[in-house]
C-alpha cells in the first residue's frame, strides 16, 4: 500500500513473458472448459488438493530477493499450515469421509498436556544455563510450538453442544476440590488463540528483550500454562488458582521488562485485578458452602454441580456482583479500565500482545461462562443497564479517548476498551448471533490488537518513542511496515472481508433483535454502530500521522523496514485476519453448539423467573443435566453407583 521510491527496475522481459504464458494458459483453460466442461472442474478439484502447496509457493514468490532462504522456508511453512487449516476445517470437508466408527476416542489427558507442557518447560528452563540465551530462546519457542502442535487434536472433534476432553481427578477430597478440565466450543478458540499467539509473542520478543532472558522465558511459559488452565478449568477452585497464577508472571513482565513507569503500572495492574479476584474468591467459597447446605453436607466446587443451584435473587445478586466485578476489571469495562492504558503502555511488546490477546479475554470469557452460567437471573436483571455501559462507556467513550491519545500504544489500549465493549454488549444481548459474534470477536480482537501491538513494538524498538508527533511520512522509508499496519488497522476498523467486520456485524445484528435488553436494544445497537464510525476516525488519524505526509523528522529518515523476524511473526496474524474475515463459518461452526447450550440454559432460567418477580424462595438444586460430564469419584469408592437423577424433573 505504499510506494517504494527506488527507481523502477529496467524493463525485464522474463516476467513479462511469464505473464503472457500465463494469459495463454488461461485462455487455453477457458477454451477447454467450454469444450469439455468436466475437464476444468477436475483440474480445479485437483488444484484444491494442492492448495497447501500453491499458497506457500505464492507467498515464497512474493518475498523480495534480499531475504534469505531460511525466511522463505519459514514463511512457506506458515502459509502452508494456514492453508491446510482452512482446507481441513472447512465445514463439511471431513465429515463425508470419516466413518463414525473410525472416530478416535477423545483423549482425556490432552488438556492436561496443554496445561502441563508449558509448566514442565518452565521447570526445565530453570535448569538451563543463564549464559546461553540462544538455547533458552530456542527451547522456549520449541515448547510453545509443541504445545501448538499438541492442540491440533482439539480441532478434530465435532464440538456440538457438549464438553469434550473431560478429565476429572479428585484433588482435595475433604473440601470437594477436583482437578477438572473440559473444553467446549466457547473455550476451544480461546485455547487455540493462546497456543497460537504465544509463540508469536515469544518469537518477536526475543528480538527486543535483552536482559534476564532466562527469567523472561520462565515467565512466558508459566503464563501460557496458567492461561490455558484458566480457560479449561471446570472446577471453580482450580479456576481461581489459575486465575491468580496468571497474574504473577504478567506482573513480573511489566515490572521487570517494562518502560520507564513500569513499577507504578505493574502495581496498578496487580492491585486492580487482585481487588476483584478477592471478592470472587469469597463468592466461590460461599457458593460451595451453599451447595453443601443444599446437597446435604457435601462441598463441591464443580462448575456443573454449582450450576444446578437456584439461589434466591438477593443472594444471587451479591454473588454475581462479586464475580462480575472481578471480570469487569479484567475486561476492562468502564469505569474500571484505567489500569489498562498504563499497563499496556509500560509493558514490553510481548506483554502487551499477550495481555490484549488472551488475558483480557479472561474477563469476557469468565462473564460468559461463570456469571451467565451460575447466576442467570442476576445477569438478566442487569444486562440492559450494563449494555448501556458497554456502549457508552466502552464503545463510544473508549473510541473518543483513543482518538485523543498521542501515544500509539495508549491509542491501541483504548481501542481495546472499545472493542471489548462490543464483546460485552454481545454477551449482554444474549442472542445466538450476538454470543457467537462475541466469542468470535474475542478471537478477532486477540489477532488484530495483538498484531497492532506487535507492529507498534517494532517502531518502538527503532525509535524508542511511540509519540505520534514524532512520526510522519514513514510510508516512504518503511513501505512493508506501512502496508501491514494499514491492513491491521483496517481489520481493527472492521472493514468487511477482514475479521473485525464479521464479529461486529454478528454482535450488532444480534443486539438489535435481542429481548434481553429491555426496550433499549435498538438504540444500543445504533450506538454500537456509531462506534464503527469512530473506529475509522481514530485509526485513520493514527495511520495518517504515522505514515503519510512529508518525512520531516530527521531521525526517521534512516529507519529500517521490518526485519525478517518481525515479518515472520506478523504474517500468521495477517493470514488469520483474512481467513476469519472470509471463512468465518470455520470458526462459527464449533462455537454455535456451545453457544446454543448457553443461550438455552440462560433463557430457560430467565423465563422461569422473569423480572421483576424474581425467584425468592429457598435455595434449591436443579436436576443434573444429562450431558454434564460426570463427577469423578474419590479413589476410595470402588464401585460407583449408577447416577440417580432426582425424580421430579418435568416442568
Amino acid at each position: 500500500m505504499a510506494a517504494v521510491e527506488t527507481p523502477p527496475p529496467a524493463q525485464k522481459s522474463s516476467p513479462y513473458s511469464v505473464l503472457v504464458v500465463g494469459a495463454m494458459l488461461l485462455v487455453l483453460a477457458s477454451a477447454s472448459y467450454i469444450v469439455v466442461p468436466d475437464f476444468l472442474a477436475k483440474i480445479l478439484g485437483r488444484l484444491g488438493g494442492l492448495l497447501p502447496l500453491l499458497v506457500p509457493a505464492l507467498v515464497v514468490g512474493a518475498i523480495p530477493k534480499n531475504r534469505s532462504w531460511g525466511v522463505r522456508l519459514t514463511m512457506g511453512i506458515i502459509a502452508a499450515a494456514l492453508a491446510l487449516f482452512v482446507q481441513r476445517m472447512w465445514p463439511g470437508a471431513t465429515t463425508a469421509e470419516v466413518d463414525p466408527a473410525d472416530v478416535p476416542e477423545e483423549s482425556h489427558t490432552i488438556l492436561s498436556w496443554l496445561i502441563g507442557l508449558p509448566f514442565l518447560g518452565a521447570i526445565a528452563v530453570l535448569f538451563l544455563p543463564r549464559q546461553a540465551p540462544r538455547t533458552l530462546k530456542a527451547f522456549t519457542l520449541g515448547v510453545m510450538i509443541v504445545s501448538l502442535l499438541a492442540s491440533i487434536p482439539l480441532l478434530r472433534v465435532t464440538m456440538g453442544r457438549d464438553f469434550h476432553f473431560v478429565q476429572d481427578v479428585v484433588w482435595i477430597e475433604r473440601f470437594g476440590i477436583h482437578y477438572k478440565v473440559a473444553l467446549d466450543g466457547i473455550s476451544l478458540w480461546l485455547v487455540m488463540l493462546t497456543v497460537f499467539i504465544m509463540p508469536i509473542a515469544a518469537y518477536v520478543s526475543f528480538g527486543s528483550v535483552d536482559k534476564r532472558i532466562k527469567d523472561w522465558c520462565f515467565s512466558l511459559l508459566v503464563l501460557q500454562g496458567a492461561m490455558i488452565g484458566a480457560l479449561v478449568a471446570m472446577d471453580l477452585f482450580l479456576f481461581y488458582v489459575f486465575w491468580e497464577l496468571m497474574l504473577i508472571p504478567m506482573y513480573v513482565m511489566i515490572g521487570v521488562w517494562g518502560g520507564a513507569n513500569r513499577i507504578k503500572a505493574a502495581i496498578k495492574f496487580f492491585l486492580y485485578t487482585m481487588a476483584g479476584s478477592m471478592l470472587m474468591l469469597v463468592a466461590i467459597f460461599y457458593l460451595a458452602y451453599t451447595y453443601s447446605r443444599a446437597s446435604g453436607g457435601e462441598l463441591s466446587f464443580d462448575y456443573f454441580e454449582l450450576q444446578r443451584l437456584v439461589l434466591p435473587h438477593h443472594v444471587q445478586m451479591w454473588l454475581w456482583a462479586a464475580f462480575a466485578l472481578s471480570f469487569f476489571i479484567k475486561v476492562p469495562m468502564f469505569p474500571l479500565h484505567t489500569w489498562l492504558p498504563d499497563a499496556h503502555t509500560e509493558a514490553p511488546t510481548a506483554g502487551s500482545i499477550i495481555l490484549a490477546a488472551v488475558m483480557l479475554k479472561m474477563g469476557t470469557y469468565g462473564y460468559l461462562r461463570f456469571c451467565m452460567g451460575l447466576f442467570p437471573e442476576a445477569c438478566g436483571w442487569s444486562s440492559a443497564s450494563l449494555g448501556g455501559v458497554a456502549v457508552l462507556g466502552g464503545i463510544i467513550y473508549g473510541a473518543l479517548c483513543a482518538w485523543k491519545q498521542d501515544d500509539v500504544k495508549r491509542l491501541v489500549a483504548y481501542s481495546s476498551v472499545a472493542h471489548l465493549g462490543y464483546v460485552m454488549l454481545g454477551i449482554f444481548a444474549a442472542t445466538p448471533s450476538s454470543l457467537e459474534g462475541s466469542v468470535l470477536q474475542m478471537v478477532n480482537h486477540g489477532i488484530s490488537t495483538g498484531a497492532l501491538f506487535l507492529l507498534v513494538g517494532a517502531i518502538y524498538d527503532r525509535r524508542h518513542t511511540r509519540m505520534l508527533d514524532e512520526f510522519g511520512g514513514l510510508a516512504k522509508v518503511m513501505p512493508v511496515y506501512a502496508t501491514l499496519f494499514i491492513i491491521v488497522a483496517m481489520s481493527s476498523v472492521g472493514l468487511p472481508g477482514t475479521n473485525g467486520f464479521v464479529g461486529e456485524f454478528m454482535i450488532i445484528t444480534g443486539t438489535f433483535v435481542s429481548n434481553r435488553l429491555g426496550h433499549v436494544n435498538g438504540i444500543q445497537a445504533v450506538g454500537a454502530a456509531i462506534g464503527v464510525v469512530l473506529a475509522a476516525l481514530y485509526m485513520l488519524t493514527a495511520v495518517q500521522k504515522m505514515f503519510f505526509g512529508k518525512l520531516t523528522n530527521p531521525e526517521n529518515k534512516k529507519l529500517k523496514d521490518l526485519n525478517s523476524r518481525e515479518i515472520i511473526a506478523v504474517l500468521p496474524l495477517i493470514g488469520m485476519i483474512f481467513i476469519i474475515g472470509l471463512f468465518p463459518s470455520i470458526f462459527l461452526e464449533p462455537i454455535s453448539g456451545a453457544v446454543a447450550r448457553v443461550h438455552d440454559d440462560y433463557s430457560n432460567r430467565i423465563e422461569q423467573n422473569p423480572p421483576p418477580k424474581f425467584y425468592e424462595g429457598p435455595i434449591k438444586l436443579q436436576a443434573r443435566r444429562p450431558e454434564a460430564p460426570k463427577k469423578a469419584q474419590a479413589p476410595a469408592d470402588p464401585a460407583p453407583a449408577p447416577e440417580t437423577a432426582p425424580a421430579a424433573e418435568g416442568h
Binding site: E5, Y16, V502, T509, N521, I523, V526, V533, S585, G617
Partner: protein, 865 residues
C-alpha cells in the same frame, strides 16, 4: 454459441461471474505483490488484460441474460453464483438467517457491470499513459484493479452484507487512491475525509441492515422483497419508536419527557431513511457531499473512474436495487427527491465560480448525482438509472479530457493547483484537437444539447419529476379511515422539485459552457509559446512524478520564457476519449423517452430491459393528473428543458466569448460578498468544522480529561489516598514510646473489663413447624444465672437465678401473643433484663414459594454417584 454458454453456465450456477469478479482481483494481487519487480510493461499488461477479460466476461453474461430475458418475457431474470456460505445472523425469535457469499446478475446489475468493466477498461488504458512517469505505477494499478473488483462485488452481491463488502471496499480503494500521492499532506487529509464521511453513511447502511433483519428476516434481495410486507405494518409495536426511545415510558421525575403520542415511524420509513443516509455518503449528497470535491486530489483517472463514473453512483444503484422498499414510504421518497433537487441546485451554484477545472467537474458531478436522486426519488427509476449510464459516459469523458489538458499543462506548470486552474488555460483548441472535440461532445451532452445522451436522460427525469407522485401503497389495503391518517406527499412537491431541477439545468449549461470556453477558446495564458531557449529542462523528465523525493519538482519555472506549445496526448489517452465522446453523443438513443412511440410497445430499449426490475416498485407511483394528460405535458416540458440549456449556454457565450469575461468580472465586483461566498463553497466545510468536527473534538477532549482527572482519580488515586491516610493515622500510635503503649494497654484492659463485668440478656426464639411450640434460648455468658417470667407483669418462674434454666418452652395458640421477660445475673451480682414478644402461629395460609418442578432442598438426593 449462446446455447453452449447457457448449458455451461446454468442460471443457478453461473460461474462466469467468478471470472468477471476474479480477473480484477487477480490483477490486484499480482500487481500488488509482484508489481514492483515486474516492471511497468508487465504491470500494464496484467492490469489491462484483467480488465479486458472481465469486460468480455461481462459482455457474455449480458448476452446470456438478454437471451434468458427474451425467453421469459416479463420475468425478473437472474443469474446467480454462490461462492460459499459466509456467516449467519439471528433474527427475531432466534431464527437463523444465513448470509451467503452469493452473487447474482439481473438487468440492473448487468448494465452496471458493463459500465464498470467497459468504462473501467477505457480508463485503465488511459491511465497506462497518464501515469507513465509515476514511480509507483504498480501500486496505482493494483489499487485500481482492486477498486474494480470491489465495485463489481458491490453491484453483483446478492444480499446486503455482500453489497456492503463492495461498498466498504470501494471506500477503501477511494481512500487509498485519493491519498495516492500521500506525501502531500492535503491529499492524505482528503483521503481520510472521504473515508470518514463515507463511514458516516455506512453507519446508516448498517442500521438499515439490522432493521431489515428485524422486520423482513432476510438480507438477500428476494427475501427482503418477500418479507417487505411487515415493513408497513401500522401496529404500534411494529413501528420504530423514536421517542421515547424504543417505546419505553418515562417515569417519576422524568415523566415530563413523556409525550402525549409517542413519535413513531414505520419500518419502511426507518429502513428507507437509513439506506438513504448510506447513499448520501457514497453518492455525495447533502449533507455528506463535502468529501467529493476534496477527493479530486487523487490522480485524474481516479477522479474519472471512481469519483464520476462508478463508485459515486453506487447510492443510486442501491435505491434502484431496493426500489420496492423505498416506495413503501412516500416520506422517504420525498426526502430523496428533495435532497436530490437541493443538491443539484446547490452544487451547481458553487460550480459557477470555481476556477479549478477539476473542481468544476467535481461540483458538476455532485449536481448530476442530485439529478439522479431526484429521478429515483420521484419514482422514475428507469430515468434516474439511465442518467447514471449517460453520466458515466460524458463525465468520464470530461474528466479524462481534463486530465489530458492537465497533462499538457503540467509539462511546464508543475504546481498541482495552478496546472488545473482554468485562468492559465485558454486557446487549447488549436493545440489539442482530439481533446477539444471530445471534451466538446461531452459538454454538449451534459448541458443537454438536443439529441445527445444527457438531453434524453435529464429531460426524462425532469418530466417525471413534474408528473410523478409516489403514494402510500399501504392505503389500498386499509379501511378508509385509517388510510386517511397515512402521510401522503403533497401534490405540489413534484412541480417544486421540477423547478429546482430546471434551475439547476440552466446553471449547468452556464458553468459547463464557461469551463469549456475558458479552457479551449481565447488565447493561451499558461506560458509564452515559442522556441525554448537552450538549457530549459526537458519537461518529459518529471511530468507527473508526484511521488518522487522531497517535491523538488516544485521549483517554479519562469513561465515568461518561451516554451513549446501544449501537446496533444498519446493515443492511449485519446482513444478512450473518442469512444466515450461517441457514447456521450449517441448513448441517449438507448432510452429516448421523447420518441417512445417509435419503439415496440411504446417502450424504448432501456425501459423495456429494466421493466421487470422496477415493475413492483412502479405500482406505487401515480401519474398526475392522469397518464393521458401527463403524456400531453411531455412536449411542453421538453421545451422547458431545452430552454434551460439554451439560456444557460447563451449567457455563457455572451459572457465569455462575446464579451471576453467582462460581465462576469463586473458581477463579481458588484456583489463581492456573494461571489466570495460561492467561491468558498458557501463555507459549508467551515460550518462542519465548527459544529461537527469541533463538537466531536470537544467531546473527545472531555472524555480524556474525565478519564484522567475523574475516573482514574476516584477509583485509583482516591482509594490509594484513603489507604495512605489510614496508614498515617495508625502510624501515630506506633511511635515506639513505651508509655503511650502502656496507656493504650490500660485503656484496652478497662474496655475488656467493662465488657466482662456488665451482663447482657438476649433471647433466641425458635419454633417447630409441626405445632405451636416455641423454645426460647437465653444467650450464654460467664457465670450467668437466669430467671424467666413467662408473662411479663406476672410472677417469675423461679425466685432464684439458676445457671441451668437457659431454656423456656412455651405453647402458644394461634393468633395469640405473649410477652416474656428474662433476667440475667452475673457473678458480680449485676443484673440485666430483656422483654420479648412471642407471636403465635398466624392462621392465614402461608405463602408457598412457587414450585418449579424441582425438588425442594431437604428431599434432594445428592449422594455420591
Amino acid at each position: 454459441m449462446l446455447n453452449v454458454l447457457t448449458t455451461l453456465f446454468p442460471a443457478e450456477e453461473f460461474t462466469l461471474l467468478a471470472l468477471v469478479l476474479g480477473m480484477p482481483l487477480l490483477g490486484a494481487i499480482v500487481n500488488g505483490l509482484f508489481g514492483q519487480r515486474l516492471g511497468k510493461q508487465a504491470v500494464k499488461t496484467m492490469a489491462l488484460s484483467a480488465m479486458g477479460i472481465a469486460f468480455l466476461g461481462a459482455a457474455l453474461t449480458f448476452l446470456v441474460l438478454d437471451r434468458e430475458a427474451s425467453h421469459h418475457p416479463g420475468h425478473h431474470v437472474k443469474l446467480s453464483w454462490q461462492a460459499w456460505q459466509w456467516m449467519h445472523a439471528s433474527g427475531t425469535r432466534d431464527t437463523t438467517i444465513p448470509i451467503e457469499l452469493k452473487f447474482s446478475v439481473d438487468a440492473l446489475s448487468g448494465v452496471m457491470m458493463l459500465v464498470i468493466t467497459g468504462v473501467g477498461f477505457l480508463i485503465h488504458l488511459y491511465a497506462s499513459a497518464y501515469m507513465e512517469k509515476d514511480p509507483a505505477y504498480w501500486r496505482f494499478f493494483a489499487y485500481l484493479n482492486l477498486f474494480v473488483f470491489s465495485m463489481l462485488v458491490l453491484v453483483l452481491g446478492d444480499n446486503l452484507p455482500v453489497l456492503f463488502v463492495g461498498w466498504e471496499g470501494v471506500g477503501l480503494c477511494s481512500y487509498l487512491l485519493i491519498g495516492f500521492w500521500y506525501q502531500h499532506a492535503p491529499n492524505a487529509q482528503a483521503g481520510k475525509k472521504a473515508f470518514i464521511a463515507n463511514r458516516v453513511g455506512d453507519f446508516g447502511l448498517l442500521v438499515a441492515m439490522f432493521l431489515l433483519v428485524q422486520y423482513t428476516g432476510a438480507l438477500d434481495w428476494n427475501g427482503i422483497e418477500a418479507g417487505s410486507g411487515s415493513l408497513v405494518n401500522q401496529a404500534d409495536q411494529m413501528q420504530v419508536h423514536l421517542w421515547p426511545i424504543g417505546g419505553g415510558q418515562f417515569q417519576g421525575f422524568l415523566s415530563f419527557l413523556q409525550p402525549k403520542n409517542p413519535l413513531m415511524i414505520t419500518g419502511a420509513t426507518a429502513v428507507g431513511l437509513m439506506l438513504f443516509l448510506g447513499c448520501t455518503g457514497k453518492s455525495a449528497q447533502i449533507p455528506l457531499y463535502v468529501w467529493l470535491p476534496d477527493a479530486m486530489a487523487g490522480p485524474t483517472p481516479v477522479s474519472a473512474l471512481i469519483h464520476a463514473a462508478t463508485m459515486v453512483t453506487a447510492g443510486i444503484y442501491l435505491v434502484c436495487r431496493l426500489s420496492f422498499v423505498f416506495v413503501l414510504s412516500p416520506f422517504t421518497m420525498a426526502v430523496i427527491a428533495c435532497t436530490g433537487a437541493a443538491t443539484a441546485l446547490f452544487a451547481a451554484t458553487i460550480a459557477l465560480v470555481q476556477n479549478d477545472l477539476k473542481k468544476v467537474l467535481a461540483y458538476s458531478t455532485v449536481s448530476q448525482l442530485g439529478y439522479m436522486f431526484l429521478g429515483v426519488g420521484v419514482g422514475a427509476f428507469t430515468a434516474g438509472f439511465f442518467h447514471v449510464l449517460t453520466h458515466a459516459f460524458f463525465k468520464a469523458c470530461l474528466f479524462l479530457g481534463a486530465g489530458s489538458v492537465i497533462h499538457a499543462m503540467h509539462a511546464r506548470i508543475h504546481d498541482d493547483v495552478k496546472s488545473q486552474d482554468m485562468r492559465y488555460m485558454g486557446g487549447l483548441r488549436k493545440y489539442m484537437p482530439y481533446t477539444f472535440w471530445t471534451f466538446g461532445a461531452a459538454t454538449l451532452a451534459i448541458i443537454g444539447f438536443p439529441l445527445t445522451s444527457g438531453f434524453f436522460s435529464k429531460d426524462e427525469i425532469l418530466f417525471k419529476a413534474f408528473v410523478n407522485h409516489p403514494v402510500n401503497a399501504a392505503a389500498a389495503h386499509m379501511p378508509a379511515k385509517a388510510a386517511a391518517q397515512l402521510w401522503q406527499q403533497p401534490t405540489w412537491l413534484g412541480p417544486v422539485v421540477w423547478g429546482m431541477g430546471l434551475a439547476a439545468a440552466v446553471l449547468t449549461a452556464f458553468y459547463m459552457s464557461r469551463a469549456f470556453i475558458m479552457t479551449f477558446f481565447g488565447e493561451f495564458k499558461g506560458w509564452t509559446i515559442g522556441k525554448a531557449p537552450a538549457g530549459a529542462h526537458d519537461h518529459h523528465q518529471d511530468a507527473h512524478a508526484h511521488g518522487d523525493d522531497d517535491g523538488d519538482h516544485h521549483h517554479e519555472e519562469d513561465l515568461k520564457t518561451p516554451g513549446p506549445a501544449p501537446h496533444e496526448s498519446p493515443w492511449q489517452m485519446t482513444v478512450p476519449l473518442m469512444v466515450l465522446a461517441t457514447l456521450s453523443l449517441a448513448g441517449g438513443f438507448l432510452n429516448p423517452g421523447l420518441f417512445a412511440s417509435f419503439f415496440k410497445d411504446g417502450k424504448p430499449p432501456m425501459e423495456h430491459w429494466l421493466e421487470p426490475v422496477f415493475e413492483e416498485a412502479e405500482k406505487a407511483i401515480q401519474v398526475l393528473p392522469n397518464a393521458e394528460a401527463a403524456h400531453h405535458k411531455e412536449y411542453p416540458l421538453t421545451f422547458a428543458a431545452f430552454a434551460a440549456f439554451a439560456v444557460g449556454s447563451f449567457v455563457a457565450y455572451q459572457f465569455y466569448i462575446a464579451k471576453k469575461g467582462a460581465p462576469a468580472k463586473d458581477m463579481a465586483e458588484k456583489a463581492p460578498g456573494l461571489y466570495k461566498l460561492l467561491l468558498d463553497k458557501w463555507r459549508v466545510d467551515e460550518l462542519y468544522d465548527a459544529v461537527i468536527w469541533n463538537g466531536t473534538d470537544a467531546l473527545a477532549d472531555t472524555a480524556v480529561s474525565v478519564d484522567q482527572s475523574f475516573i482514574d482519580a476516584i477509583i485509583a488515586r482516591l482509594t490509594a489516598l484513603v489507604v495512605a491516610a489510614l496508614g498515617t493515622v495508625l502510624r501515630v500510635f506506633q511511635n515506639g514510646v513505651v508509655h503511650v503503649y502502656a496507656g493504650a494497654m490500660a485503656l484496652g484492659i478497662v474496655v475488656i473489663g467493662w465488657f466482662v463485668v456488665v451482663p447482657r440478656a438476649d433471647v433466641v426464639v425458635s419454633h417447630s413447624a409441626s405445632n405451636a411450640d416455641y423454645v426460647l434460648d437465653a444467650a450464654p455468658g460467664m457465670g450467668y444465672g437466669y430467671r424467666w417470667t413467662p408473662e411479663a407483669g406476672g410472677k417469675p418462674q423461679d425466685e432464684k437465678f439458676s445457671p441451668a434454666s437457659t431454656q423456656l418452652k412455651l405453647h402458644l395458640d394461634a393468633d395469640k401473643t405473649q410477652v416474656v421477660k428474662l433476667e440475667v445475673q452475673n457473678a458480680f451480682g449485676l443484673t440485666a433484663t430483656k422483654e420479648i414478644t412471642v407471636k403465635g402461629p398466624v392462621t392465614e395460609k402461608p405463602e408457598k414459594p412457587e414450585k418449579l418442578g424441582q425438588v425442594d432442598l431437604p428431599s434432594v438426593n445428592v449422594g455420591k454417584n
